[in-house]
């Protein structure tokens, strides 16, 4: 157990370190002026004071290792840099965006897990029949689509054509809703991006749940349960699902990275004001400080989510608790 956590902490520590090193070295190693790459702004457009500020903030006149230590120190204080494009500290910008991304990804993960588990189990139960083959073909097809394109099509159909849902943003501009009206407004805006993200993330979970359910159905204790005359529904819920869920948790964990990637492009389609859209805006405006900070915050979020999944896994599988993993 101790070894397992040692391994995990080392892994996450290394991920974080690599992220930091990438962020630190990219602007300094790239051809061109590091001043420009660090500020994300034409050097010519910066005032002399601003230029001085960039120089001293990143300690560009000092040796590289000194720069790295200063960089770490600033991060440790929660200082993510300064966006000269927006004239605001990057951390302020990110804090504004983070809740929106968490709302979208969180609800998509919950929704796709529920649907994936239900459909996966049903498909395995009805193996080879139309409902199995049909749902599998559908999910594989969805899985092969570019997620942003699915979003565009949904907007075209349900947003522009049918006008059931708003086509961009997270709130109606200038509406000033309060209380429940504001919540309803956000949910109305959330519907399409949520649907898109959910549809593209279901497949992985569906397929693994279906497969592990099939495996579990072949186990002897299931045959025993059947022989005892237990109703099929009870067998599925009491005996099969519990075991079939385990690989699902692993895939859930691994989905996190995909969900994050998915949001980047889907938020762009829907102009959803989250981190993904922020990253797109930063690319277009060459706002490097924002781009870097977003990458780092996203990495930290993925690490935290992985860590939570590591904590949850032993709760779901008692065997891990006693034997220790691996």
């Amino acid at each position: 157990m101790l070894r397992f956590w040692g391994h995990k902490l080392l892994q996450y520590g290394l991920v974080l370190l690599i992220t930091l090193v990438i962020n630190f070295s990219l602007p300094r190693l790239m051809p061109g002026s590091p001043l420009e790459l660090l500020a994300g702004e034409d050097v010519g457009r910066l005032t002399t004071e601003e230029r001085q500020e960039v120089m001293s903030r990143h300690a560009l006149d000092q040796p590289v290792h000194q720069q790295f230590i200063i960089y770490l120190g600033q991060l440790g204080q929660g200082d993510l840099g300064y966006s000269y494009r927006q004239n605001r500290p990057v951390s302020t910008i990110i804090w504004e965006r983070l809740p929106w991304t968490l709302l979208l990804t969180g609800s998509a993960l919950v929704l796709s897990s529920i649907i994936g588990v239900i459909f996966g189990t049903l498909a395995a139960w009805r193996r080879g029949r139309f409902s199995d083959v049909g749902s599998m073909s559908l999910f594989i097809f969805l899985d092969s689509m570019p997620s942003f394109w699915l979003g565009m099509i949904l907007v075209a159909l349900f947003g522009a054509r049918l006008r059931w849902f708003p086509v961009f943003g997270a709130r109606t501009p200038f509406a000033d809703y309060t209380g429940w009206a504001a919540v309803a407004d956000v949910l109305h805006h959330l519907a399409l991006p949520l649907l898109t993200l959910t549809l593209v993330t279901i497949a992985g979970l569906f397929l693994i749940i279906r497969y592990s359910t099939l495996e579990t159905l072949g186990e002897q204790y299931i045959t025993v349960a059947r022989a005892k005359g237990l109703p099929e529904r009870l067998i599925i819920f009491r005996h099969v699902l519990r075991n079939a869920m385990l690989p699902g948790i692993t895939v859930f964990m691994l989905s996190l990275g995909y969900v994050v990637s998915g949001t980047t492009v889907i938020e762009t389609v829907f102009a959803w004001p989250g981190l993904g859209r922020l990253m797109f805006e930063a690319v277009i405006q060459r706002d490097y400080p924002v781009l870097q900070a977003t990458f780092m915050v996203v990495t930290v979020c993925v690490i935290i989510a992985n860590f939570v999944a590591d904590l949850l896994y032993p709760l779901a599988d008692p065997r891990v608790r006693t034997e220790g993993r691996q």
Partner: protein
């Protein structure tokens, strides 16, 4: 198994047959793009924003380029990016997988820990960051995708090496005093080639999806328009809010989807032929999950 034998075995399988036929169509279009396309996709050949007509079957885009020609030439770009980047990834993955599985011990531990680390890093954000700094050139995009997608295949190939290295002929070569390098190149590498090929085919579909995402975010090379690049312009010009989505947004996405499916179908079938153990779980299951779910989830 010879390449011919593999093709025959794939064609016997229904899923595999669909994959191969789609692949043949796509490759044909990519090779003969200059003859198939009615116009030069980089030339302004008509009024912008035209609806489909006899001379422009899919209409024209915001600056009057023929969309059908963009689609046909895009096949070439998307496919080349997919193949070259996947080749880089699989070469790296095979090398690391062989080293790791052959030497085992500390080298294996270090390399596989590194694979674990790479698998946690959120993929698309890192690529966006790198692509933004490196600039939107075709070669940069290919290299970035290539060097960031090797980790999954490396793990699969390593496990194959672990079993090959215990086989009689490898043991014989070792006891005859063959050097490690020679054994790895002469005996291990041919053994993992089929698995590496299956991994390569599947990697192409992953790469094509990733490339379309990068291009959609404005990080594609404007001088080499892929399907994703076309979608980027359709998005920035709001084509999906007007009736133009039918001929401007729908076709590139469908082409990406069917190309991804074509490669995925072929790859899965090949994998199943090479590893019959995967077939035991039933006629329809085809192990669409396996490492694919894991890998795709890193998208």
């Amino acid at each position: 198994m010879s390449p011919k034998g593999m093709l025959k075995a794939i064609m016997k399988n229904r899923t595999g047959r669909i994959g191969i036929i789609l692949l043949a169509l796509i490759v044909f279009t990519a090779i003969f793009a200059p003859w198939l396309a009615p116009f030069d996709p980089y030339e302004r050949v008509a009024q912008p924003f035209q609806h489909p007509s006899a001379s422009h079957l899919l209409g024209t885009n915001d600056i009057g380029q023929d969309i059908l020609s963009e689609m046909i030439w895009g096949t070439r770009i998307s496919l080349s990016i997919g193949i070259i980047a996947a080749a880089i990834a699989i070469t790296l993955g095979t090398a690391i997988g062989i080293l790791s599985g052959y030497y085992r011990r500390w080298l294996d531990t270090i390399l596989m820990r590194f694979v674990d680390v790479v698998l946690v890093i959120p993929f698309l954000p890192l690529m966006i960051l790198l692509a933004a700094y490196l600039g939107p050139q075709l070669t940069n995009i290919i290299i970035v995708i290539g060097i960031l997608t090797w980790a999954g295949p490396a793990r699969v190939i390593r496990s194959q090496v672990l079993s090959i290295r215990e086989l009689g002929y490898v043991q014989a070569a070792r006891s005859l005093g063959g050097t490690d390098f020679k054994i790895m190149i002469r005996h291990i590498l041919p053994g993992v080639m089929p698995i590496a090929l299956a991994q390569f085919i599947r990697a192409v579909s992953t790469v094509i999806l990733i490339e379309s995402s990068l291009a959609f975010l404005g990080l594609g090379d404007p001088t080499a328009k892929s399907w994703g690049t076309v979608l980027y312009y359709a998005q920035t010009r709001g084509a999906f809010l007007t009736g133009a989505w039918v001929w401007w947004v729908l076709p590139p996405g469908l082409l990406i989807t069917f190309t991804v499916l074509a490669f995925a179908f072929t790859g899965y079938t090949l994998e199943e032929i090479l590893n019959p153990r995967l077939r035991s779980a039933g006629p329809h299951h085809r192990v669409f999950f396996n490492s694919e779910a894991v890998e795709k989830n890193r998208g």
